[in-house]
Symmetry: C2
Subunit: 235 residues, 2 copies
């Protein structure tokens, strides 16, 4: 399967590296590939410049967003929540008929603060939309011909691609979406990552709960002193 | 310990019955005890009239909210999220210095709909406050001399008082609050209910995540066909 990972942050890199390891053809998408490759400083999250990372993965091609989406059969949205809707809408013609696995959380950046992600104990930046709508639903409404599957929201993406790093993989990952065939594809992908408990939360409206869980995730992570963890549905 | 359970719905009843079984002195609070005892029809959730339920628990006294709070050492807020802040503010003088364990979720009722809780698949009614504030924090600000501990939000209260009914008790319950002595009291109470994994999520700001988890809880419950379940933090 030819897979496009849109976004070059830590999450996108985790998926791309894992997909390459699993034998897929992998392209990554960014706003302007020359700008992204030209960066020499770590970003505000402290992760290494993309070009430096990419040097270790010679099989991965970097393209502009639209070209990456166009060339792929399956798309992973790893663009940050503040920018995802705008970018995906702009390249919508290249996403028609395709499954888009979306793990973005719509955090609001606060550009008036030195660090764009102020994180008081136990909460992340505010969400927009929240409660009566979700980013996943907004993306689906903007792209009626694409098949959006919300997934992987409730873990760090490093854990998503290496589930066995926590409790030997004995935890749960959630998906939601309005297209059953797309959810089957995503379930298969997650199983290939090593997930044994992929719980389908039904239609895309459940993306609200998945995105709103971000504050709970953050609070648990602070409580555990920053340790990796997973959530298991016990039934 | 003399414990007041405020509210006479299913959650309050579950706590009161369990506390009586554990040997505590239990009083329950309601807006007007004569009105509550005079009801003969099931409420909109379909639960039996309170007087009928109470007949099986002769050790429990029903009082008006203020009297119940006044007589107790420890208070459990089981008033619904739409009314809790108003009631607790009204009886604030009786709560000073006391621990108040609060499990309310601030769902917004929609009085224009026949059923006051419209629940599309996977989501509960909207929340107010949400995201940048929480009901728990609002109650604490309204009652600066009380010690609010948010707890028991992430399960049905029947499961809270009978944790072993799910996965033999192998799941996690969360607490948050700004008063360590009050959190110790609540932890002790939850352990007496049978909880082995009580995870302290730190200050009361974490109540945001706990309340916002309600949509996720609802989505999981729908996905499981309404079955009881628990969440376990795997680390």
């Amino acid at each position: 399967m030819k897979i496009a990972v849109l976004g070059t942050g830590g999450g996108g890199r985790a998926h791309a590296a894992k997909l390459l390891e699993l034998g897929h053809e992998v392209v990554m998408g960014t706003r302007d590939s020359q700008v992204t490759l030209g960066r020499t400083e770590p970003d505000f999250m402290g992760i290494e410049p993309f070009g430096q990372w990419l040097a270790d993965y010679p099989g991965i091609d970097l393209m502009n967003f639209g070209d990456a989406a166009e060339t792929a059969d399956f798309v992973i949205n790893g663009i940050d929540g503040a920018n995802a809707l705008g970018v995906l809408t702009d390249i919508g013609e290249h996403l028609a008929g395709k499954t888009v696995m979306d793990y973005a959380v719509p955090f609001i950046y606060n550009p008036t603060q030195a660090h764009p992600w102020p994180t008081p104990w136990g909460v992340m930046p505010a969400l927009d939309p929240v409660d009566s709508d979700s980013l996943g639903e907004r993306i689906q409404r903007a792209l009626p011909e694409a098949k959006i599957v919300k997934a992987c929201v409730t873990q760090e993406q490093e854990t998503v691609v290496h589930p066995k790093a926590v409790a030997d993989g004995d935890h749960t990952i959630f998906i939601a979406g309005d297209h059953d065939d797309a959810k089957e594809q995503v379930t298969g992908l997650l199983q290939s990552y090593g997930w044994r408990d992929v719980l389908d939360l039904g239609p895309l409206v459940s993306a609200r709960g998945m995105e709103m869980y971000s504050h709970m995730h953050s609070a648990i992570q602070f409580a555990l002193g920053g340790a990796r963890f997973g959530i298991k549905v016990m039934r």
